[in-house]
Amino acid sequence: MKILVVDDDLHIQRLYKEEFEDEGYEVVIASNGKEAIEMFDSEAPDIVTLDILLPDVDGIRLLRQMKEKRPKVPIIMSTAYDYRDDFAVWASEAYIVKSSDLDELKSTIKKLLGK
């Protein structure tokens, strides 16, 4: 199973990569919107974790582009700020506020891939 991690923070990229690989997933990383879309096409990930605040493009727009391409790929919005009242984020399968405790993120991935 392949996870696409979209986040511009280098340390978080590394943390997610190591943690997810420990769980037995293959992990690919994108640091901005442009890379994310390219890799979404070329790498065909099974699931995506998507930060909302990205340097080049709004994560919600990215969410939309990905859903238009392949609506069945689950996307987890992982953000540093509360966007729950923006209904657009509801197009994603899950919404998680970033935390140093990755248990919730990991169990959500497991649940979404298990379906």
Binding site: D9, H11, I12, R14, L15, E18, E19, L53, R64, K67, E68, P71, K72, A80, Y81, D82, R84, F87, A88, W90, A91, E93, Y95, I96, V97, K98, S99, S100, D101, L102, E104
Partner: protein, 807 residues
């Protein structure tokens, strides 16, 4: 009537009439005289007999019956003159009417003179005119206020048919005057119709409804918020005859505020025009008496009579009242009944009994209107100021078609009503039922009679207009929610409306006559900041926003100078609006903007701090797993401290961790009702029928806001699928320990190939959809561990069922 009866009638009239009657021969010798004549001469009636009229009248009182009689002896015509005299140092007026008495050869041998004391009438005319001018002047100030008021001022009759419409109404609602006058309140959204009916009922009972905040519809269909005050318009007798509505577009308060500043000071002429011709009971009674006198068997004896009055605004002759039977049979009944009563008895009845206006003939008369620009017998009567007797309508090309068509008249007579050299209307008569030709004799009486009644009608009408104008003036004055008051140039409050009393919490008696600076600003002398003070100083209108601690708030003061007819400055008219609330609102907006800016900062901070914390804590955890002893403990401390910091961050930013829903106990029925309410106006505007079938209410543990969003999206889709004029069924019930919401429409349905994708994000078949509605619905229901199912057939509609598990 036989001769004996006539004789008797003549005797009774001769002795009981209040007018003086004198009979003279060609040498002006007094042949007969009644007792009222005594007051003009100071001699008893019996002493006057055989005296020469010249000797007993003119020198003593200054009036001159023989001068009037001279004309009649020379011309053989009826002569009516008004004379001014002086008796015991008092000025008085008399109207003398001279009627010729002719012998068989047509020579005038004697004449009968009626002398009527019209002093009171003339004096009251002058009073009335004075009063009228005064009111007209005040009226103009208020007309200005209405016309250029920033508030829409709309008046309607008691049924909501619009009568006047000011500039602001046009601006706010988008309809111009021609589009709304005569229509039923077109700016009320359909969904509010029933509430509006309640308001109208309350106003009909005389209630004033102040400051309701409600919705209105513009001409282009957009809805907007207004603040509305509705008040009854009352006639002089207190009866509610209309509604005045003052509304303000509160979504654009600021704009209005500016307009208020630029032109706050006039009134709508229209407001008054429409009602100027309206009759009150007193005028009606007078008209009724006149017409009864014309048609009574022992009066002038015509079968039918209609009184037309000139409507100067429309330049038409308009039916004001009609008296007469509708059919030959009714005519018979009426004559039979009336013959038992004398004219004076009947006149008395009219005076004391309530008016019955609704006879068919009267209604018919009311509908008649003849433009004065047309050339007909009726309009000629007005223009040429003379009487016409049409013996056969078929031979008279100018016969009024309206009379022939609606009344079936074959012959008729029309006499002008002339008051102070001006034609105010006409009396029309015919003998439709007994077909008796209208004799010259009857005509002459009609003519003389018309002259008598014209002045009476004119003054009744004038009085009435004054009363009405005053009443309307007062209504507006009192209905305006802003404080309105007049101050003389020496700072004394002359007149105030109720809003002033309410604001100051004192009755009017304690305010009027006081100095304005004491009452309003709590000062001992004029306040330099006060717009009235500035107006007094430079005689120009001033409008300013003033914070007045004594009144307790922020106000827009608008003060305009009033000049009397000679151009002298006499005081100011002031309109004061309390804008404290508006100002507070403004301040809150500024505050909210500041908070929003803070929020943005918080979002930035959150991002900048949370990310490092995530990697810090995340790596510390990884470290912890690989270490042991003291080092493991140190890593553990880092992990815990990071978690503590994250907790603080969440708290500051108001985060609820993890979940997207905040649950509480919610009642299924109130939930679905709130959802329906959100889309109600759309449903009503499209003419969609909503059928509810709700079970017993069920308590659910859900996030009400999220769940409303979920159901609303389904309902919105249903409304769009139906388009217009279809039906939507909403059912709630409990099945298999789940609350079920079922929304079924009779719309276009969903194509079979689309059905598997409808919950996918950004999937839409609509031109304007975001493709997120049903996705969001689906997610929300999933978060509640519920489920959704859909059945649909193209052409017949769709059914959505939402299942929410009960605990």
């Amino acid at each position: 009537m036989d001769t004996a009866h006539k004789q008797k009638l003549a005797e009774i009239i001769f002795e009981n009439i209040q007018d003086s009657i004198i009979m003279l021969d060609r040498d002006y010798r007094i042949l007969a005289v009644n007792s009222p004549a005594e007051k003009w001469t100071g001699m008893t009636a019996s002493d006057l007999i055989d005296k020469n009229c010249i000797d007993v009248f003119h020198d003593i009182t200054g009036i001159c019956p023989h001068c009037a009689a001279k004309v009649t002896f020379e011309t053989g015509e009826v002569n009516i003159v008004t004379q001014k005299g002086n008796l015991k140092n008092t000025t008085y007026y008399a109207e003398l009417s001279v009627y010729p008495v002719k012998n068989e050869t047509g020579e005038v041998i004697e004449c009968v003179i009626f002398i009527q004391d019209i002093t009171e009438r003339m004096l009251s005319h002058e009073d009335t005119l004075g009063l009228y001018n005064e009111v007209t002047q005040t009226k103009e100030y208020l007309e200005g206020i209405i016309e250029n008021s920033a508030d829409a001022i709309v008046t309607s009759d008691i049924n909501g048919i619009i009568k006047s419409w000011n500039k602001a109404a046009e601006k706010i609602y988008g309809f111009n005057e021609q589009e709304v006058i005569g229509r039923y309140l077109p700016f009320i959204p359909d969904s509010l119709m029933y509430i509006e009916k309640e308001y109208i009922e309350r106003i009909q009972k005389g209630e004033t409804i102040r400051h309701i905040e409600t919705k209105r519809r513009k001409k282009d269909g957009t809805l907007f918020e207004v603040s509305l005050t509705l008040s009854p318009i009352k006639a002089a007798d207190g009866e509610v005859i209309g509604i005045s509505g003052i509304s303000r577009d509160i979504s654009e308060r600021k704009r209005i505020e500016k307009e208020l500043i630029s032109k706050n000071l006039e009134l709508s002429r229209l407001f008054f025009i429409s009602s100027a011709m309206r009759g009150t009971l007193e005028l009606d009674k007078l008209l009724r008496m006149v017409l009864t006198a014309v048609t009574m068997g022992n009066g002038l004896g015509f079968n039918r009579a209609i009184l037309f009055l000139i409507d100067e605004d429309k330049d038409t002759l308009k039916g004001a009242m009609g008296v007469g039977p509708v059919s030959q049979m009714e005519a018979g009944q009426i004559w039979e009944r009336l013959e038992k009563k004398t004219l004076s008895e009947i006149i008395h009845d009219i005076e004391v009994s309530p008016m019955k206006k609704d006879s068919f003939f009267d209604r018919l008369s009311h509908g008649m209107e003849i433009p004065l620009s047309e050339e007909t017998i009726l309009t000629k009567t007005v223009k040429e100021k003379k009487l016409f007797n049409i013996h056969d309508v078929k031979k008279e090309p100018l016969s009024d078609l309206i009379l022939i068509q609606q009344l079936g008249t074959e012959a008729y007579a029309v006499s002008p009503l002339i008051s102070r050299d001006k034609v105010i209307g006409v009396i029309w008569v015919d003998n439709h039922f007994n077909k008796r030709p209208i004799a010259e004799e009857a005509i002459r009486f009609l003519s003389a009679f018309s002259n008598h009644v014209a002045t009476a009608i004119e003054s009744a009408r004038l009085f009435e207009q004054v009363a009405l104008a005053e009443q309307e003036l007062e209504n507006i004055f009192e209905s305006i929610s802003d404080m309105v008051y007049f101050i003389s140039k020496d700072y004394v409050l002359k007149s105030i409306n109720k809003a002033v009393c309410r604001r100051l919490g004192k009755p009017a008696e304690e305010i009027i006559g006081k100095k304005c600076y004491e009452v309003f600003h709590g000062m001992n002398g004029p306040w330099a900041e006060c717009p009235h003070h500035k107006t007094v100083e430079i005689k120009k209108a001033f409008v300013e926003e003033v914070e007045d601690h004594h009144l307790g708030g922020t106000f827009i003061f608008s003060s305009s100078p009033i000049f009397d007819t000679t151009g002298e400055f006499i005081g100011t008219v002031n309109i004061v609006s309390d804008i404290t609330e508006l100002k507070n609102l403004r301040e809150r907006v500024v505050m909210a903007e500041r908070m929003a800016a803070l929020g943005e900062v918080a979002a930035k901070v959150a991002h900048e701090i949370r990310n490092p914390l995530v990697s810090l804590g995340g790596f510390a955890k990884r470290l912890e797993k690989k270490l042991d002893g003291n080092l493991k403990e140190y890593a553990d401390i880092i992990v815990n401290e990071v978690e503590r910091l994250e907790g603080i961050l969440n708290e500051i930013l108001g985060f609820v961790k993890e979940t997207r829903v905040v649950k509480e106990i919610v009642n299924s029925i109130s939930l679905i009702e709130e959802v329906i309410y959100l889309i109600k106006s759309d449903i009503e505007e499209r003419g969609i029928v909503l059928v509810r079938e709700v079970d017993e209410p069920t308590e659910m543990h859900i996030d009400p806001n999220r769940m409303k969003e979920a159901l609303l999206n389904i309902l919105k889709n249903a409304v769009q699928a139906v388009g217009s004029n279809g039906t939507i069924f909403i059912k709630t019930y409990v099945k298999d320990n789940s609350a079920v919401f079922e929304i079924k429409d009779t719309g276009e349905g969903i194509a079979e190939e689309d059905l598997p994708f409808i919950f996918d994000p950004f999937f839409t078949t609509k031109k304007t959809g975001t493709g997120l509605g049903l996705t969001i619905t689906h997610r929300i229901i999933e978060e509640h561990t519920g489920s959704i199912e859909v059945e649909s057939k193209p052409g017949t509609g769709s059914t959505f069922r939402v299942f929410i598990p009960l605990k």
